[in-house]
Symmetry: C2
């Protein structure tokens, strides 16, 4: 059973029952395993960062509408009592931390100021948060889990990693009998940067893997955006290039629930078989 | 390597490197395994809940100073640009979600409005958040991971579960060579409730397992507080009693790092051996 909760309208949050939890954990084990088998090291980052760190990634320039910040309450004058399920303007005294809306930020901050090998690969999973104008249960949650495999290093490395995992995602979906379309998508990261926006038109930086209209995975190239912003350098002295492969775990759960007619035990068996065809 | 970040003073956040990540995952696997072996079902809850849900647990009456709320930004007039690493009063337009400061809330909300068996047991892990007046690296973080094993049902069940895991925690620590003291502790949950406050003096509701002055695990009884607030009932019609066993994963990491002289591979081997003495 999934408990879906939300203040009004479509559910914004889900508490997953035992079967759904087993399936999400298995999916995460599979995707993490792909990264580890390709040589990734697993790291673990918190789901919030100092606002100064997220600011470096233009979060508050490019996605202010999607942002949740972690605010502390003004303890004076009983203002910390919520009214009708919300704290209004003025009840939050300040916010020094921002909630992450993507998992990969932790990888760039982990390597901040460092020199990395040309073929660096890390994997991590995290809770992510998005302030959407509408929610839709498992398909669009206020908080969800995203596993990522992140490449840092030479440009060619960041491209090869995405090519390899693109194939892997497609064959895994095929083994599950799931019809995934690969679609070029825009990435709002680069909207304020004319050079990169032009580059994006010449060569898309994001491909989504869609089931119907739902993107359940994506591959993304950032050129040297994060390398520059975090001062991550290659042995050559050049800023590192980065790319990432992202899996929205609750969205995979939504698709598998639909595809297997809500028989989550059958879905779990199919995921295990597709992950290890031997 | 642990990357510790903070705006000023002691680090409030930590990004764990590969060795620390392996150790934390293994600790979590061990503690979750204790729950599963005792018959627990694993569920998975988001790290934030509607303010209305947390309000039911007196969070904003008893812990407003510890609370972080997930606020959205006021997009008018460029107020969403942070100034010196923070959003000040007025920049956050509203907050309808609160960040959880304990993992077990998800278990009560999962069973809200339901009838449960007298011997119900669930386990879950989550990111937790606390707005502390000072931080101290892995010992006191703004966001950390807490695994819990939660008993719901008859009063005797909630007591037996705590007794069993008290023994388990003590023998596990002994096998690791870690000197843990068991100390009665106050629980601010009940500070506003005179009947329960009196009960607490007669019979402590919280015991912590402390390494030096650092609590790395605790066992907690709540009598029927959460059963009443969430309308969880037993077959008898009575409100369910609850108790929980909590493990602060980064604090275990801090203690093991100290105990094993920063040799995290040795710590990992010791954890595996202590968990499975056969």
């Amino acid at each position: 059973m999934n408990r879906l909760t939300g203040s009004d309208g479509a559910p914004a949050l889900a508490i997953l029952g035992p079967q759904a939890t087993r399936l999400v954990k298995e999916l995460d084990r599979v995707f993490a395993g792909w990264g580890l088998a390709a040589g990734a090291e697993e790291i673990s980052a918190p789901p919030l960062f100092p606002v100064t760190d997220l600011e470096k990634f233009d979060v508050y320039t490019n996605f202010p509408h999607l942002a949740f910040v972690a605010g502390s309450l003004d303890l004076a004058d009983d203002r910390f009592k919520p009214v009708e399920g919300r704290f209004g303007a003025g009840a939050v005294s300040e916010a020094r931390y921002g909630l992450s809306h993507a998992t990969c930020y932790g990888a760039y901050l982990f390597h901040e100021g460092e020199q990395v090998a040309d073929d660096t690969l890390v994997t991590l999973v995290n809770r992510c948060f998005r302030n959407e104008d509408h929610y839709g249960g498992l398909r669009r949650l206020a908080s969800f889990q995203m596993r990522e495999i992140v490449a840092l290093g030479a440009y060619e490395h960041t491209r090869q990693v995405l090519a390899g995992f693109t194939e892997r995602i497609q064959s895994f979906a095929a083994a599950l009998g799931i019809d995934l379309r690969r679609e070029a998508a825009g990435d709002p990261f680069f909207q304020r940067d004319d050079g990169r926006a032009l580059m994006q038109k010449l060569s898309p930086v994001k491909y989504e893997f869609q089931y119907g209209d739902l993107a359940i995975a994506s591959v993304n190239t950032h050129r040297n955006f994060f390398g520059e912003r975090c001062g991550i350098r290659l042995e050559s002295g050049e800023h590192a290039y980065t790319s990432c492969v992202a899996f929205g775990l609750e969205r995979w759960l939504a698709v598998l629930t639909e595809h297997f007619g809500a028989d989550l035990d059958a879905a779990l068996a199919a995921v295990r078989a597709a992950a290890d065809p031997s």
